[in-house]
Structures are given as structure tokens and as C-alpha cells.
Symmetry: C2
DNA sequence: TAAAATTGTTAGCCTAGGCTAAACTATTTG
DNA sequence: CAAATAGTTTAGCCTAGGCTAACAATTTTA
């Protein structure tokens, strides 16, 4: 079948680390990451909108743009997407609101974010770094790991 | 200046969690994540190519495709990019090789990946889950956090 | 060694998520 | 209350990273 005489599947002595995972499992790992990438920006926007509403009373495109560090045009386009996904409601030139689906997503996202952030802090990571890392990590942490992080926080925080 | 009378910058009582970070810092967090996204796929390919060479003796497009879970056309296109970036050398229809820049990247990437994976295992996360989480997390973990993870591994592994 | 099977490449399409520039709407202010 | 300013949207462009289909090259095998 193979056009090459391959070394056996068992790892050779060349490597220092683990063997390669089985092909199917390996592919599923990358697929999981690709899937996370599709949803994470959406979640970040929804989470930020929820935060802005909670902290500032409203969520405006200009605020989202400056906090996200992108142009207002980009935000405008994204809001249209969030609308189509049924996560926010908006009238032109007016402030945004989260739908109940949006609120749910914001709440879940925020809770996950907080666990990761507090876990990193409990581990001893500096606050600024912890915030940056948490922002990137939160979408890639499974429920299982999240539960373990939560237990760790309880154990290591007064 | 503002067209709305805004609540003060200090958070209102509505929220349960932390205050919003200052705008500049907030934007930098998201920018860091966006930047990581640009490089992480590249790193994943380079890391996988390095692993295939180490474990199988060669890295072929078909193997990369099946392990990444993408089409061969996608891999072919990506290899061209890696070439342009000076990370691999390739002749058509021949196996790939990493340049020394590619080897460096693979080595760094692999080391980081292993630390995150072993950290999750030391934390008590199931192996399959740990592999999936590590794949997603590795590109978002700062050097500071990585060092702390490494210390944690040393302390919690016999 | 010719045919079959596998592997690799190219062309062309699509979506997401950035951007700038220009037009439009709302609010504030002189 | 009109003009200036601030905020929002739209149009059009670009890149990355997927895909399929068609074709080319290589390797295996009958």
C-alpha cells in the first residue's frame, strides 16, 4: 500500500519525547483547535459586549473597537455577524444588546475566563501576564481541565 | 467630546468580577492573541514536520495531511509558504527538510508543547484531554508562565 | 515494463477577519 | 439652530487557510 518502506509505527530511538499519537487522534487534536478558532473571536466579542454593558451600562461600537484594538469598520462587520448568529440585537447607529443566547454565551465565556485567570494567578503568574495568557488560553481549555483548575484555585487561595 | 453622558470609569456595582482593564492594556491583550494566531499554524506545521522526521525518518505531504486532518492541497500550499519563510527546503515530489531556522522553531515549539502537556498531566488531567488542550494552549503561554509550569512539573513528578 | 495506485501540484473557489476611504447619522456646541 | 464633531456604516481591497477537481509525477505491482 505504501510506496515507501517505512520504519515501523513504534517510535525509533531518534526522539527524546513521546511517540506520535495514532493518526486519527492526532488529526482530531488539530481539528479541535481549528474549531476553537472559529468560535473564539465570536466569544471574545460577546464576552466583551457583556462586560461593557455590565460595567459601563452600554456597549458601543467605538468602545469595542478601541478595546479590541481594531478599526470601527471591523467591529461594524462583526456586529452584523453576531446579529446573524442571533447573539445581539442592534438598530443602526444605536447601542447594542445581547439576546438571551448572547447573554448565556457571555456568562459562560466570562466564567471560563475568570477560572483560567484566577488559576494563573494562584499559580503565581504576574497579573498582567496572567491576563494576556488567559485571553489566549481560555478557548482551548476543556471542561475537564477547567474543573481541575477550579479545584486548584480553591485549594491555593485563602 | 463624547456624545453620550457616560457612567464614570470606575466600575458600577452591576458586575460580579474584576473591573475592565485600562483600554490600552485591554487592546494589547487581544493584539497578542491575534499575533499568536498568525504564527501558530506555521509553528504547528514545523513542529509536526520535525516530529515526523524524528520518528519516521522523513516528512511527506501525505502524512502531514492525514495527521493535520486537512487536504493535500492545503498542505501543498502551506509548504510553499514555509519555503518562502525559509523554514523548510523541498524539491517537488520529494521529502521535506527543515532549514536550521526551521529546526530551531521546531525545537522551541516542541519543548514548549512538552512543558504544557506534562504540566497538564502533573495537574491530573487525563492524557487524551491533556494532548488536545496542550495543542491549543501552547501558543498562548508566555515564557513566564512556562517557567512556572516547569517548576510545577519538577515539584509534582517523581 | 506497462498498468494501477499513490502522492503531489495547480487552478480556482469560498469564508473570515483585517484594513482605508468615503458617506451617512447623531450629538454637541457656538 | 446650524455647524462642527463624533460615531457608524458601507464599499472595496487584501491575506490566510480551508476546499474540490483536474492533472502530473512517482512508485508499486501484476
Amino acid at each position: 500500500m505504501s510506496q515507501h518502506t517505512q520504519p515501523p509505527e513504534t517510535p525509533t530511538v531518534l526522539d527524546s519525547g513521546d511517540a506520535l499519537p495514532p493518526i486519527e487522534q492526532h488529526a482530531r487534536q488539530y481539528e479541535t483547535v481549528r474549531f476553537a478558532h472559529e468560535t473564539e473571536l465570536i466569544e471574545d466579542y460577546v464576552e466583551l459586549i457583556g462586560d461593557l454593558i455590565a460595567h459601563r451600562g452600554e456597549a458601543r461600537a467605538a468602545d469595542i473597537a478601541s478595546r479590541m484594538g481594531v478599526s470601527q469598520a471591523t467591529v461594524s462587520k462583526m456586529i452584523r455577524r453576531l446579529n446573524e448568529l442571533g447573539l445581539v440585537t442592534s438598530q443602526p447607529y444605536r447601542s447594542l444588546f445581547l439576546t438571551s443566547a448572547g447573554k448565556d454565551m457571555a456568562q459562560v465565556s466570562r466564567a471560563r475566563h475568570d477560572i483560567v485567570l484566577n488559576f494563573l494567578r494562584a499559580l503565581g503568574v504576574n497579573d498582567t501576564t496572567a491576563r494576556i495568557d488567559a485571553e489566549g488560553m481560555e478557548h482551548h481549555v476543556s471542561d475537564e481541565t477547567l474543573a481541575i483548575m477550579q479545584a486548584f484555585i480553591r485549594k491555593n487561595t485563602k
